[in-house]
């Protein structure tokens, strides 16, 4: 069993540019290449706040997880990043915009929270804990 996996692993080694070309040809046959950017209004848009505060709190893992997990579940979504949204105390923060709806910002999004957001909010429209209300004022805005 282990031996078989080992063989497969060697086959998928991508070390040279030629390997990269071969693997790309294989991907082209297999993956769905819809042009996502043309109809973004029908897509779920996820923005991960990736300023210093976000990165220091683990936003890279969160974004990595979201890209992988949404792809695995075949959810039509674009994951991009944005700067600091001003909620440094609650990093990592993400903004999720479902088609035709107002964007919602979630705080403290580690991979576990990200999974919950995908399963409850993205797939079922159900709200989960950790939403940062729109009328929240940052320290600088407070009078």
């Amino acid at each position: 069993m282990i031996h078989r996996i080992k063989n497969k692993r060697t086959m998928t080694k991508i070390t040279s540019l030629a390997d990269l070309r071969r693997k790309s040809e294989e991907l082209k046959r297999r993956i769905d290449l819809r042009e996502k950017s043309e109809h973004t209004e029908n897509l779920i848009q996820v923005k991960v706040a990736m300023a210093t505060c976000g990165i220091a709190s683990g936003a890279r893992e969160t974004m990595d997880y979201l890209i992988e997990e949404l792809d695995k579940r075949k959810i039509d979504a674009v994951v991009t990043q944005t700067g600091c949204m001003g909620y440094c105390y609650a990093e990592p923060t993400i903004e999720v915009k479902l088609p035709g709806q107002e964007p919602v910002v979630f705080g403290y999004v580690n991979t576990k929270k990200a999974k919950e957001i995908i399963e409850k909010y993205i797939l079922n429209g159900e709200l989960v804990d950790g939403i940062i209300p729109q009328n929240y004022q940052t320290i600088n805005e407070k009078k």
């Binding site: 998928t12 990269l20 990165i55 220091a56 990595d64 792809d71 994951v79 440094c88 320290i139 600088n140």
Partner: protein, 197 residues
């Protein structure tokens, strides 16, 4: 910031915000000089001399959501803790170059971290950016240049999850070949994904 790869992600974002078309990231591991050097240069809008001079002051920032910026100050602190220094050169309208030097063997030098993860997320977020990554060690040099990569992958979008995974594997394997310092967390997970397909 726990490691150098996270600093790279952070500083490269400044370049993107500055409107850079090209971002070049160079890491050199020079055991002979006991030096670990990271250079990030871009062709963004650059900074005014006044601003460039005080940019490692935490109370200086361009952002409007809060009054301080810690990206460069934290990097400077990490350099200085590890017997090195941070140098910033910038020309308005030309671009900015950040050079971070650490003593390679210094106990307080942050580890390199998961460099492939940083690069794949930079690609994911900025598929149109011309990103060049060079890594030099005593055993050789590895160059990852998105312009070159695009020639080889054809019309596949660089920010497709499968393409990101492929590029990440490619970077990781080449870094291993030149004996570059790099800690990949998801290596086994990525390989597993490959097998499952």
């Amino acid at each position: 910031m726990k490691d150098i790869s996270l600093h790279i992600l952070d500083i490269a974002e400044n370049s993107v915000t500055a409107g850079a078309q090209t971002v070049r990231i160079v890491i050199e591991e020079l055991p002979g000089q006991d030096l670990y050097r990271l250079v990030i240069e871009d062709d963004g809008k650059g900074m005014e001399p006044d601003f460039a001079a005080k940019v490692t002051d935490p109370w200086v920032t361009t952002r409007t959501t809060r009054r301080f910026g810690l990206g460069l100050p934290l990097l400077r602190q990490n350099c200085e803790l590890a017997g090195g220094s941070l140098d910033i050169g910038s020309q308005q309208g030309k671009g900015t170059r950040v050079t971070a030097e650490f003593r390679l063997s210094h106990i307080d030098r942050p580890p390199a971290g998961d460099i492939p993860a940083t690069l794949r997320l930079l690609l994911a977020a900025n598929p149109d950016l011309h990103l060049v990554y060079e890594h030099r060690t005593a055993n050789g040099t590895f160059v990852f240049d998105t312009r070159q990569i695009k020639e080889f992958i054809g019309n596949l979008p660089l920010n497709h999850p499968e393409v990101l995974r492929m590029c990440s594997t490619y970077i990781n394997e080449n870094l291993l070949q030149i004996g570059a310092e790099c800690q990949t967390k998801n290596d086994s997970k990525l390989a597993e994904n490959d097998i499952n397909h």
